[in-house]
Symmetry: C2
Subunit: 242 residues, 2 copies
């Protein structure tokens, strides 16, 4: 019997980005549903879960979205296209939800620990996420951080752009969980970043504050769906010990 580590190792090694899917192969949409449920369990910044996942399934909608993916082969023959969206704009609503749920574990009777959780979601999070249209707030936060940082370690990622990056990173953690899960389910994937984000946002009726992190196509690979052998920078050039 194989260990979990061996099986995980196979999943990672067998995953390749697939450009051509076999649209005649049987496909189980439930594998996508299960994999998205697993994606929801990815770690993410302050547990705010500022993400949304859109499953594009019908032929007409997939064809339209494939055009916005600049006609990439990886989009054209997929069984489904899943759009991973960032929702930084929902920070307030999600912080409130997470705080209310967390209060069940950290009731007022816990005193200091209760206060830490409440302060985090009612003070730290608004300080990080609040921003004005031209991010004057971010500029001010950066100045405060630079001054404080002269004397002690301080967070430096405080501007609106920094927080955009934070949210994209969290959504990427979910996207990778999804891709590995699809591989474990016996299917293939391809993450795409070459798309017209303005058109994709309009297509999904997304508000200004939402952004497209990644579009992942799924299906069963055709043998010719893998382009070339895997190319990797040698590990000695990227892994270091301190």
């Amino acid at each position: 019997m194989k260990s979990a580590a061996e099986i995980f190792n196979n999943i990672v090694n067998e995953r390749r980005s697939i450009r051509i899917y076999d649209d005649k192969a049987p496909f189980d949409g439930e594998a996508v549903a299960r994999s998205l449920d697993r994606a929801l369990l990815a770690p993410n910044s302050s547990n705010l879960q500022l993400w949304e996942f859109y499953r594009v399934k019908t032929k007409a909608k997939k064809d339209e979205l494939a055009k916005y993916c600049l006609g990439q082969n990886a989009a054209k023959t997929a069984n489904e296209l899943i759009v991973f969206v960032t929702r930084k704009d929902k920070w307030k609503e999600h912080a409130e939800f997470v705080l209310n749920e967390s209060k069940k574990d950290f009731p007022a009777t816990l005193g200091k620990r209760h206060k830490l959780v409440v302060d985090y979601y009612t003070k730290v999070i608004p300080t990080l996420y609040f921003s004005d249209p031209v991010d004057i707030t971010g500029g001010l936060k950066k100045i405060v951080s630079a001054f404080g940082g002269a004397f002690q370690p301080v967070p430096r990622q405080v501007t609106a752009t920094d927080m955009r990056i934070v949210v994209h990173k969290s959504v990427a953690l979910a996207a990778q969980t999804f891709m590995l899960s699809m591989q474990a389910e016996g299917y293939d994937t391809c993450p795409m970043e070459g798309f017209d984000s303005a058109r994709v946002k309009k297509f999904l009726n997304l508000p200004r504050g939402a952004e497209i992190c990644m579009i992942v196509s799924v299906g069963k690979a055709k043998p010719e769906g893998v382009y070339g052998k895997r190319v990797r920078i040698p590990r000695e050039e990227v892994i270091f010990e301190v």
Copy 2:
């Protein structure tokens, strides 16, 4: 016997962010090495692999880095701290490496396909990644993209900030592969974004163009190392069908 999907499901469900590790528990550093090797196999933008992973292992170095992680518990008791770094500044060098390797699979005799690969790494990539200190280039690219986009789908992510985000996303894909791998190996992790990036960069002797994506602590959880039960926004509010 459990299927790969069931085992992957367990890995995802059992992973929790750990704040207190058992520093007396046996720990196999080889699990970190194997997991970093798997992280290197994560999909990433244009396969440029603009990442570096730093293993911080000695007591003195870990104590110093934990301070820069603002004294977080998740950093203080870890067996190792792994710093996931973005290296957008290495795009030229990596593009050259990947192109040279890819030419083996796409020799000149392939004609059109050879030309596509060569054009991608010698024209598309420089257009996306080249930037000047104040990103006038990015502004111009945005204007060109907006004009072209009036008539047809075009890429909109073209500024220096957009490309920073692209690289952070790719490094996050590697970080999640790493964390799930450590879980499969029987260990626990905690991803951290609360740190003083200026001090961490100095600590690792990183150049200006490098950025800290995430610091992941690893070890074996103490029972009290999980803070509260898992809180998730209901799936109906974040997963949609189009």
